[in-house]
């Protein structure tokens, strides 16, 4: 359970020595409580206090890195239940399952899909993050063979080894030394053996329970055996159970400081119907899953899931921005209408959507206004005549257009004279105040 500033203060040296960079121990304690400072800044803190504070200041959901290198995925560290309270921290990983009963060619083909899954969306590179290798055959040799194929054909991709057989797990996990794989399948009957495999190979232990009570007992036992990094499967498979378990886990960890459930969650949601599976995955993205295990990753499915994950994990306090540039909508000619607006993503989506609706090809200049909408940006001095003129001049657009007419948002009609002064040779036209009037505006221009 997180400590308050005053509780932390009691454990500090109370010397006000300022070595931590804060004026007093109390000020430092307050920063610690808000997680804006770390305890190692204090050189004089006692070992006892370190231990107490270390436990209390540990994030309610343990940070764990799955995989290694540039494709590593950070999990855990979440602090809230609702994204409007604070940004969700680490976007969930999407994993695809292969089974050791599949042919080598089939496994290779899945590896190739994963290696080619990366797409670029609003400036972020998004991809399928991990491969689950399931010991469907029950045979240790077959699991190892499948793991070898994955290690060779999907090098660098994070791996989750799925077996209840500790010896099989050991043989497979050796192939991924140093790359933080998950050894999944620890349960009440094999926990000791699986925990030692995970420890010996610096792997994350995946615990498979049936129900939250058993899950918390198993994570406690694993911790007692010296395992630190755990991912948890409560056994929930139906969407209804997934919401229930994931919600109760997140609440227990964050609101109650219940450590045994303070680990990332893995949800296995494979379904026969890919469309249906995608929708269950959507529920997992919204509701607290850290790893979502899928049975197929068609491109049409991945692109939609990536978009949702991006939406849910956006920082609600930082407006989404689009890149400053002159966008072409349709195939504009030299004399097509030319609009300008700000780079708040919603503004851009709405304005460009309405221009698209009008079916009139246009250019749309999107100016960096730090993600503010038109009126706010104007009020904040980020969408001014000087800045607009500079943007238009620097863009070199006058080489591309014949008309030299710029349509500004109706809300900043007041700027039209000033822009005309600063952009000699340009005609400034005042457009509609609201984007939904753009189609009529364009129609009226003929």
């Amino acid at each position: 359970m997180a400590l308050s500033g005053v509780e932390i203060f009691k454990l500090l040296p109370k010397t006000n020595c300022k070595k931590c960079g804060h004026p007093t121990c109390l000020a430092f304690a307050m920063k610690l409580a808000q997680r804006q400072a770390t305890l190692d800044l204090c050189p004089d803190v006692s070992e006892e206090a370190k231990k107490k504070l270390g436990e209390a200041s540990a994030p309610p959901i343990r940070p764990i890195t799955l995989g290694a290198g540039d494709k590593a995925v950070k999990m855990g560290e979440e602090t809230v239940l609702f994204r409007h309270d604070k940004k969700f921290v680490n976007p969930c990983a999407f994993a695809i399952e292969v089974k050791d009963t599949q042919s080598e060619a089939d496994i290779e083909s899945v590896c190739a899909q994963v290696m080619h899954s990366e797409i670029d969306r609003v400036g972020q590179k998004l991809r399928i993050d991990a491969i689950v290798i399931t010991n469907e055959s029950g045979d240790a040799g077959k699991l190892e063979t499948a793991a070898k194929t994955v290690a060779a054909k999907a090098a660098g991709v994070a791996v989750i080894i799925n077996t209840t057989n500790a010896q099989a797990a050991e043989a497979a996990v050796k192939l991924f030394a140093g790359s933080h794989p998950v050894v999944y399948g620890a349960n009440a009957s094999n926990l000791d053996a699986m925990a030692s495999v995970a420890k010996a190979h610096k792997a994350i232990l995946g615990i498979a329970a049936s129900g939250l009570e058993e899950l918390s007992e198993l994570t406690e036992k694993a911790k007692g055996l010296g395992v630190e990094d755990i991912v948890m499967d409560s056994g929930a498979r139906k969407a209804k159970e997934i919401i229930e378990h994931n919600t109760l886990i997140r609440r227990a960890a964050i609101k109650k400081g219940f450590k045994p459930l303070g680990y990332p969650v893995i949800n296995f949601i494979q379904r026969g119907d890919s469309m249906h599976e995608a929708l269950v995955a959507s529920v997992c993205v919204a509701k607290y899953s850290s790893i979502v295990v899928l049975s197929s990753i068609e491109k049409w499915k991945s692109v939609a899931l990536f978009a949702l994950r991006q939406n849910i994990y956006t920082d609600p306090q930082v407006p989404m921005q689009v890149e400053q540039k002159i966008y072409k909508i349709g195939e504009p000619k030299a004399d097509s209408p030319f609009f300008i607006t700000t780079n708040f993503s919603l503004t851009y989506f709405i304005v460009s959507g309405e221009i698209e609706n009008s079916k009139v090809p246009c250019r749309l200049a999107v100016m960096d206004s730090e993600g503010l909408s038109v009126l706010t940006a104007w009020a904040a001095g980020k969408f001014t005549a000087t800045k607009i003129a500079q943007f238009i001049n620097d863009s070199g657009i006058d080489q591309e257009v014949s008309a030299k007419e710029l349509i500004i948002p109706g809300y900043v009609a007041i700027l039209s004279g000033a822009i005309e002064e600063k952009l000699p040779g340009w005609k400034i036209t005042v457009g509609p105040r609201e984007a939904n009037a753009i189609p009529a505006f364009l129609k009226a221009r003929g």
């Binding site: 139906k238 249906h276 068609e298 692109v303 939609a304 949702l308 189609p439």
Partner: protein, 313 residues
């Protein structure tokens, strides 16, 4: 440390709203917990999906959803019956988009005739929507509400600019009413208050906090819906306890991902499945955020959403 499930109980409850008449009437809302949290309280009614039809042929819909209605979409009555009888829709939403002055600019009389014909042809509940032109909607929706008297329709959408006349017409003719504002919890609340201050029953309202499509601002609608629902439940705020609408199809079927051919965007994969999933996934996210009523276009997307609802209740 023994585990005790941290269940929560809430002070507030979402109003129950019934639409339509007779055996096919449908009821939404009534839950006293967050969406699909049946493990800690009552969720008496499952969400409802209405299929969207229009008073004019859907020339502006992308090919992949337009073609589904080839042969019926030239006539709203045929289209409505197709949704009810062949696609087994539980409700339809008739959008009178052809009345928009920039579109076909159909007259109020034409709109009334279309609405009457559609209502006479089906027995499932009907949502009747204007063209989202504040002025024209006032005339159209008032006349349509009268023509549909006592059919217990949902009329929409009342916005800040035109709520007075539309709400009065809905009230006088015993309809439910959609109140729409733009992606702001305070505007939603304010509009609900203004409408109820006219004497409109707060339990006959549906809140539309404005939809947005997956990848195009969905997170705004998602969070406004979550915040509205939390205000309803945790603060027992009676001005926020209306069921919520996600007008999904209209927003989804204009984004690039539902239109671009695979040949142009190979990294996005098959266009048909992509469009269907884009609509179904937008809908699913909004259900998880708190929407009880959805308006959608592609029957396969509706079927997928119905199957995930089946798994969630």
């Amino acid at each position: 440390m023994a585990f005790t499930p941290p269940k929560e109980s809430y002070a507030g409850k979402v109003y129950t709203v019934t639409m339509g008449t007779g055996e096919r009437a449908a009821t939404i809302g009534g839950e006293s917990v967050l969406p699909f949290h049946s493990f800690e309280g009552g969720t008496p009614n499952r969400p409802l999906v209405a299929l969207e039809i229009q008073d004019v042929p859907p020339a502006d819909w992308p090919e992949n959803v337009r073609k589904v209605y080839d042969g019926v979409s030239d006539d709203p009555v045929k289209w409505a019956k197709h949704c009810q009888d062949d696609l087994k829709a539980r409700a339809i939403a008739l959008r009178l988009v052809g009345t928009h002055p920039d579109r076909e600019n159909r007259s109020v009389e034409d709109a009334v005739k279309t609405a009457k014909d559609v209502l006479a042809a089906v027995s499932i509940p009907v949502i009747i929507l204007g063209s989202n032109h504040a002025e024209k909607d006032t005339a159209v929706l008032v006349a349509v509400a009268e023509a549909a008297k006592d059919k217990n329709c949902i009329i929409g959408k009342a916005q800040e600019a035109n709520y007075k006349t539309i709400a009065a017409a809905a009230m006088a003719n015993n309809h439910k009413l959609i109140a729409m504002s733009e992606l702001d919890i305070n505007l939603s609340k304010q509009l609900n208050i203004l409408i109820t201050q006219m004497g409109f029953d707060k339990e006959k309202l549906i809140t539309d906090p404005m939809c947005s499509a997956l990848g195009y601002g969905l997170e705004y609608t998602y969070s406004v819906m979550e915040r509205i629902r939390l205000a309803a439940l945790t603060q027992n705020d009676q001005t926020m306890q209306q069921p919520m609408l996600g007008d999904v199809g209209m927003y989804v079927w204009k984004v690039k991902e539902t239109q671009a051919a695979e040949a142009d965007m190979p990294q996005w994969g098959a266009a048909e499945e992509r469009g269907i999933l884009w609509e179904a996934e937008t809908a699913t996210a909004l259900l998880v955020a708190g929407a009880e009523l959805l308006i959608m276009r592609h029957p396969k997307a509706v079927a997928a959403v119905d199957s995930v609802i089946e798994e969630l209740v």
